[in-house]
């Protein structure tokens, strides 16, 4: 094991924000466990526990001197388990702290704004960039694919400017067989390069075990998705937000599998009893893009005040393939590439709009949706020209409306929770 810390004998705390995550998720978990009666926001209880366990382990491993590897959420964390390392998701950390800290992470956005980072560039990176500028994070290396958006290839060179080695597997913006071959090769070369930077040989056998966990998670996720076709939906709105967090923070770990299995049991029980969560389900909505992260209470507000089920958001309907771990390395990396390119947001970003629109229309029918809510996030220019064409397709082919809300999913100052609630409230009255 060789990394900057061990070689220099430094004992610096390389991931202070992760300790912030640990403290805040720990107290959140304790609060909800102690205060909430059984059956209330179960996803938050078990999700917080899973994230807390993973983050605690990460903090301990970093203290032992394992290299800290930053990664884009679109680079599957389980692939990094070919190393003994501490994977840190850049975007996940910004937004989980945005959700958990009482004052959010706007302070770190402002640090970067003052440094010259454009106001319109994605806050998912801006948060951790600001933390890095303030020396709260110290990465041994960062790995990011060249997708899903301009923000990725625009913002990440900042880390290189801060002397963090950057490894970049290139993703083609085209979905064909040759794309998976190309990206598979990029993944392999990048992991080898990363290994050289941190002084480790990639252990692909070890990585396979973590990929196999993800394969198991996949089937549970599909089962959970299927349950949501039921009326009322047996899945609470908060599940969408928490599962996005667990997916990012605990990918490839038994904790993630445990989270989904436990929640599946809860959902099955509700399904059998035709039990709904919160208020009577009056509106079934699909959020083809993201929920907001700066205020997760919106999920409960929709469940309890409006009776609006969020059947799923982008991180909860769109499950990529499983990976064949029994074949040769070429097959393995081909499948890993296919999985990566079909990951939520990556799929939509690296191909044309047509399948996205077709999928949305089909999902609306399959899940008996009454409406769509599209959160048009300031950072996501790659989705900037889809809302209206999607709205027209839903109106013409399914006869349902779509609300578009301009916002920043990680910055409450851009569009406040109040405005978002007001808009949804007014919209819901037109749907009913």
């Amino acid at each position: 094991m060789t990394n900057r810390n061990v070689l220099s004998g430094e004992t610096e705390n390389k991931l202070i924000p992760y300790e912030m995550v640990l403290n805040s998720i720990g107290s959140t978990r304790e609060l909800v466990e102690r205060i909430l009666p059984k059956g209330e926001i179960e996803s938050l209880k078990i999700g917080a526990k899973a994230i807390e366990q993973i983050v605690r382990t990460s903090v301990e491993k970093a203290k032992q001197g394992l290299p800290v590897i930053g990664h884009h959420f679109a680079f599957q964390r389980e692939y990094l388990y070919c190393f003994d390392c501490v994977p840190i998701c850049i975007e996940g950390t910004s937004y989980l702290l945005s959700a958990l800290l009482p004052d959010g992470v706007e302070r770190f956005y402002d640090v970067m704004l003052s440094w010259g980072h454009p106001f319109h560039t994605c806050t998912s990176q801006k948060g951790v960039m600001g933390m890095t500028l303030e020396d709260l994070f110290s990465f041994d290396a960062i790995i990011t694919p060249t997708a899903p958006c301009d923000n990725t290839f625009a913002s990440y060179p900042f880390f290189e400017y801060k002397d963090v080695p950057l490894v970049i597997p290139d993703i083609p913006y085209l979905h064909e067989e040759k794309s998976y071959e190309y990206y598979g090769e990029q993944l392999r070369l990048s992991l080898e390069k990363l290994g050289k930077i941190i002084g480790q040989e990639p252990d692909f056998e070890k990585m396979k075990k973590h990929i196999e966990i993800e394969n198991q998670v996949n089937s549970v996720q599909l089962e959970l998705l299927e349950l949501r076709k039921a009326k009322p939906s047996p899945v609470e709105n908060m599940f969408n937000a928490i599962s996005a967090g667990v997916a990012v923070f605990a990918s490839g770990t038994p904790e993630k599998l445990d989270f989904y299995e436990k929640y599946l049991e809860i959902a099955k029980k509700r399904y059998k009893k035709k039990q709904e969560y919160g208020k009577e389900e009056r509106i079934r909505s699909i959020w083809p893009y993201m929920l907001i992260f700066f205020d997760l209470s919106l999920c409960e507000y929709l469940d309890r005040e409006i009776g609006m089920s969020v059947l799923f958001d982008i991180f909860n309907y769109n499950f990529s393939n499983t990976v064949n771990t029994k074949g040769d390395l070429d097959t393995l990396f081909f499948d890993m590439a296919r999985r990566g390119m079909n990951f939520p947001m990556m799929k939509e970003s690296t191909e044309f709009y047509y399948p996205f629109i077709e999928n949305c229309v089909q999902l609306a029918k399959d899940f008996s949706a009454d409406c769509f809510v599209f959160t048009s996030h300031l950072g996501c220019k790659q989705f900037g020209s889809v809302p209206q064409v999607l709205r027209e397709a839903l109106r013409e082919e399914v006869g349902i409306p779509m609300l578009i809300i301009d916002l920043d999913v990680g910055d409450k100052r851009f569009t406040s929770t109040k405005i978002i609630k007001d808009k949804i409230n007014m919209f819901s009255k037109t749907v009913l």
Partner: protein, 381 residues
Amino acid sequence: MQLRDDPFLSIANKIPNKYIENNKRNIVGYYCTYIPEELLEAADLIPFRIRATGNEDTNKADTYMVRFTCSFVRSTLNLALDGVYDFLDGLFVCNSCDHSRRMFEIFDMVVFKREGFNKNVPRFYIAIPHILTEEGYQWFYGEISELKNNLEKVYNVKISDDKLNDTIKLYNRNRKLMREIYELRNLNHPKLTGTEALQLAIANSSVPKEIANRELERLLGIFREREGLNIDDKKRILLIGSVVDNAKFTELVESSGAIIVSDNLCFGKKTIMEDIDSNSSKSPLERIAKRLYYRNPSCPRSMDDHKRRLEFVKNQIKIANVDGVLLQRITNCDLHGCDNMLFEHELKELDVPVFNIDRENFQSDYTRFQTRIEAFLEMIR
């Protein structure tokens, strides 16, 4: 003698022009300078770089593009929805940025489906890697090869190596002429303004290249003969950043007390600095692909190439004897916004004044913008 009203330079002030209106060849629009123009030319097409010159509002396009998108691309869409681009016989898009790449779908689903528009306009897309590697080059070459085959099928033409070699000569000549003219900007008394340089680049991308070459030769003679500009009270500026397709913008800068002596712009030096190797034993298509892929200076979409872009900027500061650097981006352009952010910090070591500003494609608050430029220029000793 002011040349800004020269018939060739005036082509830059509007979209259609007599050279394409009276031409029997197919005219095809392309969104980005990473599209291989030489290949289109060899398919007997006239490449026309899509721009939004003169567009002042985006009422129609705003329906289809949210307000967080680039006002340049939104403006081009607005013009297309107004029918201004109905003359196109083909559309070429690549994944240059998130804003322009989506025009592939939007033109298909909205522009070409407009009531009363019955023309069949073929669309072509190429996926370009975001990093510079041998594997990336091989991918890019594959895309260009596939594009060649598609062009032959769709336009029923044969693109021979001889034809490609001819167009390489034509385009190399074009770039050489542009460079020769642009070098006259480096002089102590530049022979042309930044506005004239911009007009030249825009006009050059709007007409068949054989006409452009003839006009550039004529203008090179005029510029050479012309007396150097009196710039004693002006600051020599290097202009960097998002696409500029409107001479009013450079006029605004230059009327504030500056002369733009160099640039790193799409309608400018980004496309003319390197030629296609004509001595190599590689096939003409490979040579076209190689130049385009490894182009220097690159667009900030090339994620791992910032250092080379910085070197280019430093070199320009030196050879054009620059007094100050104006970094500009169109609001919502993340690529240039972040590249400019790094330049701003990196150029501090050179002790060259730098000003970083954002703007809209159509600058309606002219006075406020000019005041900011003037304040920057006053800071320069």
